[in-house]
Structures are given as C-alpha cells and as structure tokens.
C-alpha cells in the first residue's frame, strides 16, 4: 500500500509540472548531453585510430579501454575529486561542486564506453571499405569519414550507450557535484537523497523518468540494430 501511495504521488508530481522536479530532470539531461558533446568526437576519433591503425602496444590499449569500462564510477569520482579539490592539480579552476565538475566526471565515465563501442564497430567493418577508399585516392581523413559513415549505426549505438551509462550514474555525480539543490542535483543524486530522507514520491517520479529514458534508449538501439542488419542483409 505504501508503495502504491508513493507511486500515485510520484505520477501526480510529474503531471503537476513541479518546477524543482523538472529542473532536476533538465539538469541531468543538459549535463549528459554536454558531456557527450565533448566525449563523443574524442572517443570516436580514438576508437577509429586504435581499430584502424597497426602500432606497437595496440592490444594493450584495447585491453585498457575495455577494462576501463568496468571502473566503478565512485573511483572515477574520487580521482576527479582529488584532482579538482583546492590542493589538486586542477584546483585553480574552482570546479568542485559545480555543473562543470559533473560534466567532467561524465566525460571520463563515457569515454571508455564510447571508445570501446566505436572500436568494436570499426573492427567489425568490412576491410574493403577502407581499401576501396584508399585505392580511389582518399586521404586518411576522408578514409576515416567513409569508414565511420559505413559503421554509423554502431557509432550511434556507442553514443546512445554512453548516454545511458552517464545519465544513470550516481557515484561520481554525488562526489564531485555535491548534490546542491538547483545547482548540481541530478536525477540519480536526488533519488539517493530523497530515499535517505524517506520521501519516496519525488524519488519514484525521477525513477520513472530514468526508466522512460532507458526504454527510449533501448528502443532506438533496437531500431538502429535493425537498420544495420537490413543494410548488411541487402549487401
């Protein structure tokens, strides 16, 4: 009964257009998109280069990228906290407990996921694509654009996975953001706080939003995988 009451209150809260609630949702989406805007180009470029180039230590780099996907976000948060704290190497930026710190943490969390997915997509690409581009006289930059275009569904899946990983993480955001109302309170940190206070309605409302985001993300991934399969099937 307690859960049903909380669920009803959560739905009412969502439908009422509660400014604080929707402010938290918007802040989470905004910082996540900003982080992806920074991380995606870097990760896609790095993932492509690691997949497409032969160099000494390549296997070690791939191993490190894949292993770093498993790093607990609280550990990333701890390292970033130490880096951004007054005595840390980036302390002068005064980013700790700000949205910039949350974005920085999200960038660090999303980079391995984006890189690993891009790397896998490029490694799975038909080698003839790059060879055809090369033999037709394309520059390395144009070859990269051509290959990435051919594996665009995989790259999009990488970005979507990165979005899902980042928006749902709590450890790093709470450590470097500080969970300040109206400033650095994200969906996940708000859920943690409200639950600890025994106020479940807002927590459940935010949980519903997270579930909705997860459902949309997975629907888009399934659609992309279908498109990619259709393309390969026709080839």
């Amino acid at each position: 009964m307690h859960l049903l009451d909380a669920l009803r209150d959560a739905c009412l809260l969502l439908l009422s257009g509660d400014a604080e609630l929707w402010g938290i949702i918007w802040l989470s989406i905004k910082t996540t998109l900003l982080a992806l805007l920074v991380a995606a180009p870097l990760a896609v470029l790095f993932g492509y280069l690691v997949a497409a180039r032969a160099f000494a230590g390549r296997r070690i780099v791939i191993w490190l990228v894949q292993a770093s996907m498993s790093l607990p976000t609280v550990l990333i948060g701890l390292l970033l906290y130490l880096t951004l704290s007054r005595q840390g190497p980036l302390g002068d930026f005064r980013w700790l407990f700000s949205q910039s710190a949350i974005v920085a943490g999200q960038v660090l969390i999303s980079l391995p996921v984006l890189t690993a997915f891009t790397l896998a997509a490029v490694q799975a690409a038909d080698l003839r694509v790059a060879e055809t581009a090369v033999t037709l006289g394309a520059s390395p930059w144009r070859v990269m654009r051509t290959v990435l275009h051919e594996v665009r569904y995989g790259v999009m899946a990488a970005v979507i996975s990165g979005f899902g990983r980042v928006i749902s993480e709590v450890g790093c955001a709470i450590m470097v953001g500080g969970n300040i109302a109206g400033e650095t309170r994200t969906i996940t940190t708000a859920i943690a706080l409200q639950t600890s206070k025994g106020e479940f309605a807002q927590g459940i409302a935010l949980g519903i939003v997270l579930v909705a985001i997860a459902l949309v993300i997975n629907a888009v991934m399934v659609a992309l995988q279908g498109d990619a399969r259709a393309g390969r099937g026709a080839a």
């Binding site: 038909d126 006289g137 275009h149």
Partner: protein, 225 residues
C-alpha cells in the same frame, strides 16, 4: 614507349613462407594482362602489392620512368593505380556518389564531377541504376559500377581481382565487354582470373604465377586488334 611499370626482385613473405619472388615485372602502357596461377599461388596478393594495399620487398620500382617505392607507396602511383576487389564493395550512399568518390577525393569541382560521372555511367551501362541503393545491386551491377568508379579516374594501371568470378550469363559478358575499351582509353589492365573468355580476349598478354615465379607469354596488343 616508356614502360608503365618495371619492378625488379619483387618478393613477398608471410613469416617464413615466401609467397613469390619475381625477378622482373614489366608492364607496358595501355596493355592488358591476365594473371593466372593455381589457387593460393599469390595472384591476389601480387595485385594488392602493386596497389599498395600490402607491403613487399622490391629492389627497384620504376613507374613511367620515375623511381618509386612500394612501401611506403608513392603518391604518384596512388593517383595512377586503382585496384578493384573480387567482390567490389559499394559505399552506402548513392550510385553516382560511388562513381564520383575518387573525383571528390581529388578535389574536382562538383559540375565536373557530375559530367564525368554521367559519362562513366553511360560507359558502364548503369544509367538506369542511378536511383538504386548501391547495397541492393546484383554482383554484376556492382562490378560494372566498380569499373566505372575506377575508369572515371583515368588510371594508368587498373588491377582487377577476378572481375568475372561469381558472375554468369549477361552480367559476365557485360563486364568482359568493358575491358578492351579500358585499354583503348589508355589504361593498362592486369586481371587476376581463371576466366577463359578474358584470357582469350584479343591482345591480352598472359602472366603466370607458378611456384613463386612469374612467367610471361605475349600476344598482340588489344588496341591493335
């Protein structure tokens, strides 16, 4: 006439195994060659080496009278040599974009690209495929578009890996019919193949890879036929 390509002591190894060790490869300008040999003899690898897609050792490489390198592949050769896979891959854009890809890479104006693409489509008989999705084309259609994509660049040397394998009937004949006109337009063509009709084309010279060595048998030139 200056030879198009002369290579001395060309060898390719995979670890301890030597795939081929060719004393001398001499390719004339505007001439057609078939490269034959048993499966695994190294025909495709030789074409890929000549295209700069695989590395090999060469004592001396001379392209149109100029000293060149195979690895790293010389820029002048990159602009003059085009390789077409046994199963050509199409970029998932449009047929016209596929054919104009190399022209775009060379920075030609859009109007010039459109004109040359139209000419190449007409040459390959693929105008009716303009609106088709490249990934949905048949093997023969892809092969003709790949030839148009190569020809539009006016390559000095065109390397075709089994251009008619897996094609039958009209598709195969259409591809074979395009080869002599490539030579007439000034390109030299080397085709790795087993296709008797390609081997029997007038003027085609025969290169045979056998036990790592290259043998050559000369016939009359295609454009003189």
């Amino acid at each position: 006439m200056t030879a198009l390509l002369e290579i001395e002591r060309l060898s390719k190894r995979f670890g301890e195994r030597e795939l081929f060790n060719i004393d001398r490869l001499h390719i004339q300008q505007a001439a057609a060659y078939v490269l034959t040999g048993l499966n695994g003899a190294g025909k495709s690898t030789l074409l890929r080496v000549l295209a700069g897609l695989e590395q090999a050792e060469a004592q001396r490489v001379c392209f149109l009278g100029q000293q060149m390198r195979l690895s790293p592949y010389s820029r002048a050769m990159r602009e003059a040599v085009v390789y077409v896979h046994q199963h050509p891959v199409m970029f998932s854009t449009s047929v016209a974009h596929n054919i104009g890809y190399g022209l775009e890479a060379r920075g030609l104006p859009k109007a010039e690209i459109a004109r040359l693409v139209d000419e190449a489509m007409d040459w390959a008989g693929v105008e009716h495929l303009r609106g088709s999705k490249p990934l949905n084309l048949s093997g023969g259609e892809k092969q003709r578009i790949a030839l148009a994509r190569a020809k539009v660049l006016s390559p000095k040397l065109l390397l075709l890996d089994e251009p008619t394998s897996n094609l039958d009937g009209a598709a195969r004949e259409q591809v074979i019919a395009l080869i002599p006109s490539l030579v007439r337009s000034g390109s030299s063509v080397i085709m790795a193949c087993h296709d008797r009709d390609l081997i029997a084309l007038p003027g085609v010279q025969r290169l045979k890879l056998r036990e790592g060595r290259l043998q050559m048998r000369q016939q009359q030139r295609v454009h003189a036929a």
